[in-house]
């Protein structure tokens, strides 16, 4: 891997580096084998062939049929397509959609857009660990409900949702079920057959593939309108010349991720749990956000009271550590993360959140380094904070 040696990259939920094997696999498709898969001469036929074998490979990884895999420009497009495409195609049948309050904006904002177009949307609450309650979800179903969209795993707090149960409820009621699996695919087992998923979004850059390419899985027989109208690509459902190299990169990255899935899960879980335990024990007034067990193997999200997230990130950056926060101060908006608010954190505690997300290149030594650095940073910032009662005055609640 080619990161500067000094940098400790702990923001894999934001994006991952593109593996060199993946870049290698992509390169020929820029220069030598650049043919448009829709053309008829030999180099074009070759492009067609590799796109179709990439499709087969992705289908295998998800437990799907190749004809159910549609390449897109990434997670955002896949989510938009699923939400708007299903809502519009089924409008005569009903105009009600159910989703959760902790979805990525790529699901939430299309849902809000549909509200403006006259649809009604239920944004389900979550419990303090970020879980959607299947019972509450079932109660929200009406005869007008045409779509349920619940993410497989949350990008901020790592909570893994009960997708199998939700898929079964949706199936029982004859409602289409979409899941945003952008943070899950390539990191935990996902099977569209076992979990009765009708639509699933994934994005290559979250599993060491390139940015700007993704997939929407669409179960055969699902009623959905196109999002992009134009050429006849992707069996007339998604117009636009295929991102040839990107598609090769996506399938190659997914194949490699699937080969070491369980080994890497176990390895990251150990690092994750060491990081969580170490931070909680060395920093008073800290709390874990998300679920203690139903959690992505690479996700750590901790709130440090009395400090603000952006100043934690800047301090970490000075040590070459890349991380992220749910504080509003990094985004320029007034509100801290909607996910942290939805799990019930007070605003000022949400402001002090730190997300560290692990990837393949992270090592035990790096975890030690982080554990050595973070407590000092928090202490320094707390010493500056007018909210901090001081060490001696700490009250443990």
């Amino acid at each position: 891997m080619v990161l500067e040696p000094r940098v400790i990259y702990l923001d894999h939920a934001a994006t991952t580096l593109t593996r060199s094997e993946v870049v290698e696999a992509m390169l020929p498709y820029f220069h030598d084998r650049f043919g448009n898969p829709s053309s008829i001469y030999r180099i074009a036929r070759e492009s067609r062939k590799v796109v179709e074998s990439a499709r087969e490979s992705v289908a295998r990884a998800l437990g799907a049929e190749p004809g159910e895999i549609y390449f897109t420009s990434g997670g955002t497009e896949s989510d938009n397509w699923a939400i708007k495409g299903v809502a519009i195609a089924n409008r005569k049948k009903g105009d009600h959609i159910i989703t959760s309050s902790i979805e990525h904006h790529a699901v939430l904002y299309p849902a809000r857009y549909l509200e403006k177009q006259g649809f009604s949307v239920t944004f389900l609450p979550v419990d303090s660990t970020g879980l959607v309650d299947p019972g509450t979800l079932e109660d929200a179903i009406t005869e007008k409900t045409t779509l349920i969209s619940i993410m497989t795993a949350n990008n901020e707090i790592g909570t893994i949702e009960p997708v199998r149960e939700i898929g079964k409820i949706a199936r029982d009621h004859g409602i289409t079920f979409h899941t945003d699996a952008v943070q899950a695919v390539g990191h935990i087992p996902v099977s569209v057959k076992d979990d009765t998923i009708d639509l699933l979004s994934l994005s290559a850059h979250k599993f060491n593939g390139p940015k700007g390419v993704g997939v929407l899985y669409i179960r055969k027989g699902t009623r959905i309108d196109p999002l992009l109208h134009g050429g006849a690509q992707e069996r007339n459902r998604r117009a636009g010349t295929e991102n040839l190299a990107g598609i090769i990169g996506l399938s190659t990255a997914l194949e490699i991720a699937m080969q070491s899935l369980f080994r890497e899960m176990e390895r990251q879980k150990k690092l994750r749990d060491r990081l969580i335990a170490g931070l909680l024990s060395s920093v008073p007034h800290s709390r874990l956000n998300g679920h203690p067990e139903k959690r992505l193997p690479g996700n750590v999200n901790i709130s440090f009271e009395y400090v603000e997230g952006e100043s934690i990130l800047l301090s970490l950056d000075a040590h070459g550590i890349c991380a992220s926060t749910g504080s509003a101060c990094t985004s320029g908006s007034l509100e801290p993360s909607h996910v942290l608010l939805a799990i019930g954190l007070p605003h000022e505690v949400a402001h002090g959140s730190l997300r560290l997300t692990l990837g393949e290149e992270n090592t035990d030594e790096e975890i030690d380094t982080v554990l050595g650095i973070v407590p000092g940073i928090i202490e320094r910032l707390r010493a500056m904070s007018p909210l901090y009662p001081g060490k001696e005055k700490e009250c443990h609640v």
């Binding site: 509003a328 985004s331 908006s333 993360s337 605003h347 000022e348 904070s385 007018p386």
Partner: protein, 157 residues
């Protein structure tokens, strides 16, 4: 995104802490918005002889507090009153537009601390001009309880 000056004042903030028996204290901001600044002043013969701060907030808020305490030290109260948020930002070699409100906080903290002194002296407070405004002009107030929908504009990854 931050200038070297901002990073310097963030990494090595000047005048962090409290003043025992201060002559004036000003606290502005709101932890709900992610920022609180408290400024302590020591005043002798109408001149600020020492200033310290404590701040909960982003890098720009901490750097602005640090710079503001540097700027007020040695000034008369009238001179200190005239220090604008732009002056603080300029002294920091600029702030990103979305961070200008953090420098407004510094200006307000100076005003609050000076007026606290004036009131303690039995003098009438000077007129404070700017309440705490955020980017886009919204006054900072307690947001409503979290609802089932997302906050606007936050960049998500």
């Amino acid at each position: 995104m931050y200038s070297e000056k901002v990073m310097d004042h963030f990494a090595n903030p000047r005048n962090v802490g409290e003043i025992e028996n201060p002559d004036g204290v000003g606290e502005v901001g709101n932890p709900v918005c992610g920022d609180i600044m408290r400024m302590y002043l020591k005043i002798e013969d109408n001149r600020i002889v020492d200033a310290k701060f404590k701040t909960f907030g982003c890098g720009a808020a901490i750097a602005s507090s640090s710079m503001a305490t540097e700027l007020v030290k040695g000034k008369t109260l009238e001179e200190a009153w005239e220090i604008s948020n732009q002056a603080v930002a300029e002294a920091l070699e600029g702030l990103p537009p979305i961070k200008m409100h953090c420098s407004v906080l510094a200006e307000e903290a100076i005003h609050k601390a000076i007026n606290d002194y004036r009131v303690r002296q039995g003098l009438s407070p000077w007129g404070e001009k700017t309440p705490h405004y955020h980017e886009g002009g919204e006054e900072c107030e307690l947001p409503e309880e979290p609802q089932g929908t997302a906050g606007d504009g936050a960049l998500q990854r």
